[in-house]
Symmetry: C2
Subunit: 260 residues, 2 copies
């Protein structure tokens, strides 16, 4: 039987609020068994770009990662945020190890090809981007890997990469070795049936039910790419995907997605 | 018989010059056997502090690491520089892994006690600060650890720490397990007998000869703390200390310090 592995992903909202971040990490320290964390970036990098007078490069409403922006996001994600998270986890007794994709060549990305838009130094993750064997070695050393959303291309270029994509790729790559639970942690208690009612958390959604909820318009907008991504992970062998409140990961209220 | 381990330390000068940094890393990739790297910071952090309008806090001519400064140096050393070095080493075929002291709790420092001056968030390294067992595990996984000069106190505080001190502490801690060579790489070919003659490199200096060279004033100023540190490492079991040009580590011209 495969051993369990819980993969947690947190976004920028919680990183921007130090007291919430500390609360999440205290809860995370209580989670037993093998675990790893993927964190996105917060608003700090954008603020610093503005403070330094670097204008955001936007094309068709989407941000372009030029060289100056890559420098700043690398500093924030791989430097400030990653090391802050690791040191706070150490303080909670968790032997955390911070990683970018370049470290140990753990995630090798491909610079997004230029079609209509040149997104700049942005990395996409092909199949086999993740060195699952290395992550497994770290986990068996009782370390908790903490991934920031910076990868590399293997020939010396760092790349800004979507944190949800990193979490999904890690989950899929590690599913061969572990029974993986992928936890997307955000500011709500789960997937809501009614966006205006925080108590309307749907406890469980199967793939068939998800198609129906999408068709009915109950699940719409920003949740759709997140859940499409989640069900793709389930199809690729991830055991369970959980959508939950970052501040209440040890409480029972959450949405569990399952493939069947 | 203990296996060999080469520990290289580079300073800010080479980090500030990308073409020199790339040349050093290409040379480093050619060095065979177990190796690790410690890098200091460059001028980038100071420049960014100025760009952001953060005034350096100086007391009696020495810089104080206040919270804003710690944030910026963490971003530069652990983020930008460390990840750039790791990704360039990966491009050279070296499986590098970037580390701050917080990662894997590999170096646990103590915040410098406030006596006459409060240096702020600066870490000193007590005996047993280095988790040598963990570094050994990484080396036996054929990884090359790359340390930045940021440590932590184990209870959630990151600390700015002198890179020479980190290199010396690593060398001493790993000397029990490996036959350690500690390489201080800088812009000159070694210790010069005449500062105005780049060709006057002293090939070898014993502890007794060092005392004599100091007494004669041949070795003075900035080299004294560096060499005091180096001879302390030799006394603590480090096999050999090498002072050499960062761009010519694979050439024979260098100064070798030995304890006897």
């Amino acid at each position: 039987m495969r051993e369990g592995l819980k993969i947690f992903k947190i976004g920028g909202g919680i990183i921007d609020d130090e007291s919430q971040l500390r609360q999440f990490l205290r809860e995370l320290a209580q989670v037993s068994g093998r675990k790893l964390l993927v964190h996105g970036g917060g608003k700090g990098a954008s603020q610093m770009l503005r403070d330094l007078g670097i204008e955001p490069q936007m094309v068709q409403g989407r941000r372009i990662t030029d060289a100056a922006t890559l420098d700043i996001v690398t500093m924030f994600y791989a430097g400030k945020t990653n090391k802050q998270v690791v040191s706070l986890l150490q303080a909670e007794g968790v032997n955390a190890l911070g990683l970018s994709g370049a470290d140990g060549n753990v995630i090798q990305a491909v610079k997004r090809p230029v079609k209509d838009i040149d997104y700049g130094f942005v990395g996409d993750l092909p199949a086999h981007a993740v060195n699952a064997e290395f992550v497994g070695q770290l986990l068996e050393m009782h370390l908790m890997p903490v991934f920031c959303a910076i990868t590399h291309d293997g020939v010396g270029q760092l790349l800004n990469t979507n944190a949800d994509t990193i979490a999904g790729s890690l989950a899929q790559a590690l599913a061969a070795q572990y029974e993986v639970e992928l936890h997307f942690c955000f500011e709500k208690d789960g997937v809501l049936r009614d966006l205006n009612d925080e108590a309307s958390v749907i406890p469980q959604i199967t793939a068939a039910e998800y198609q129906q909820l999408k068709a009915e318009g109950v699940i719409a907008a920003g949740m759709v790419p997140k859940l499409d991504n989640a069900f793709a992970a389930l199809e690729a062998g991830v055991e369970r995907v959980v959508i939950e409140n970052a501040l209440r990961i040890n409480e029972p209220v959450k949405t569990i997605l399952c493939g069947f």
